[in-house]
């Protein structure tokens, strides 16, 4: 177990694993997303109150789920970096933050497109929508730190602290719809079951799974790039590119 962990946090080993698995993971994720979204859009039944417009759920829910999960994993990575100074943890945070920003934006955008016909408005300042906007701002703030310091270690330290502090927003997003009156409905899928009919739920779960695969694949690729940036003058990198030639 410990050995596996040590291998995963070693740059050359991770690079090799990612190099091999990326194409398969990426292709698989595209296929699963296509399956889930096309099934949802063309074959699942029409919702009785919302009509056809509900189908945006097949993009909105996966995007929002991924956007938050990325931040959860970044919080874990930030603690790991702050205590054990494991460089892979900061590589992870720096690679994932832009992905998190993109998916938060996608969640906000698809939510607005759904809200206009359903609620009658693109945007309201209710607790769920506002806390999600704050998540996007947090991601952007983290990204802006990447090139704010001269020393690598200062960047990693600053990013970790901001990520950890921003973690306070996660339970607020999650619980906003339970604790306060919001325009956004409360969670449909919970541990105790789902209030979405099965015929609609199955493609949704497939789509969510596909989004997670996609983020894993792209995240690995971005981490490879970040590792190369940091280790460009090391021998193991030179050897890899020699082999290629």
């Amino acid at each position: 177990m410990r050995q596996l962990f040590n291998q995963l946090i070693s740059f050359p080993y991770f690079f090799k694993i990612a190099q091999i698995s990326f194409p398969y993971l990426f292709l698989l994720s595209i296929l699963v997303i296509l399956l889930g979204v096309l099934w949802g859009v063309f074959f699942s039944p029409v919702d009785v109150t919302q009509g056809e417009v509900y189908r945006i759920i097949y993009l909105h829910v996966p995007a929002a789920s991924v956007a938050q999960s990325i931040y959860y994993t970044m919080v874990i990575a930030s603690i790991t970096y702050l205590i054990w100074r494991i460089k892979m943890a900061s590589v992870f945070m720096i690679s994932m933050a832009p992905l998190g920003a993109i998916f938060t934006f996608l969640a906000l955008f698809t939510g607005a497109v759904w809200g206009q016909p359903t609620w009658g408005t693109w945007w309201v300042w209710d607790a769920r929508l506002t806390s999600t906007l704050i998540l996007l701002i947090l991601y952007l703030a983290i990204i802006s730190l990447f090139s704010s310091f001269d020393r690598r270690a200062s960047t990693d330290q600053a990013v970790s602290i901001v990520v950890l502090i921003g973690g306070i927003n996660l339970p607020i997003i999650k619980l906003s719809v339970e604790w306060w009156n919001t325009l956004h409905q409360s969670a449909s899928i919970t541990l105790s079951g789902s209030s979405i009919d099965n015929e609609m739920l199955i493609p949704l779960l497939i789509s969510i799974f596909g989004f997670y695969l996609y983020v894993t694949a792209i995240g690995m690729r971005k981490m490879q790039v970040e590792i190369l940036k940091r280790e460009i003058s090391h021998n193991w990198v030179k050897e890899i590119f020699k082999e290629k030639r």
């Binding site: 009658g120 300042w125 607790a127 950890l164 607020i172 306060w180």
Partner: protein, 142 residues
């Protein structure tokens, strides 16, 4: 090396501890004013002072919608199943606006005649997603 790591652990755990305290304070503070809308019971129990613009939310009471035939004037009751308030609105209603379904109205509550004059109506969707065929079957069963 060991003390260095211990210092880091102390740093991280004190950061987490102070964040948790901050979280509790934020939530306590937000409980006062983060609600997007008030319920009819909030209004009738006169918990709220006169505000020029506020929102009320609840269900549209059954058989309470009166839409004028030659204009966009609408009257209906918003209920939270304990109290209900009459809402007056002139304008286009959202598609999801119907009886027994969630609604949020923004406007002004006139305590003298007990009518809420809405400037904007939003429909609130609940967390249930049901196909048309299933709904029909459910209605036929009951």
């Amino acid at each position: 090396m060991r003390t260095k790591r211990r210092n880091r652990v102390i740093f991280v755990s004190s950061l987490v501890a102070s964040l948790s305290v901050a979280f509790i304070f934020i939530v306590l503070a937000m409980n006062e004013n983060v609600d997007f809308y008030y319920t009819p019971s909030d209004l009738t129990s006169s918990k709220i002072i006169n505000k020029d613009s506020l929102r009320i939310g609840g269900l549209v009471q059954e058989d309470s919608i009166k839409i004028s035939k030659d204009s966009l004037k609408t009257n209906f009751l918003v209920t939270d199943l304990e109290n209900s308030i009459e809402v007056y609105y002139e304008g286009i209603l959202p598609n999801l606006f119907k009886e027994n379904s969630g609604v949020i109205a923004r406007g002004f509550y006139d305590y003298s005649d007990g009518i809420f004059y809405a400037k904007e109506i939003l429909a609130k969707h609940d967390e249930n997603y049901i196909p048309k065929e299933v709904k029909k079957a459910l209605v036929n069963d009951s």
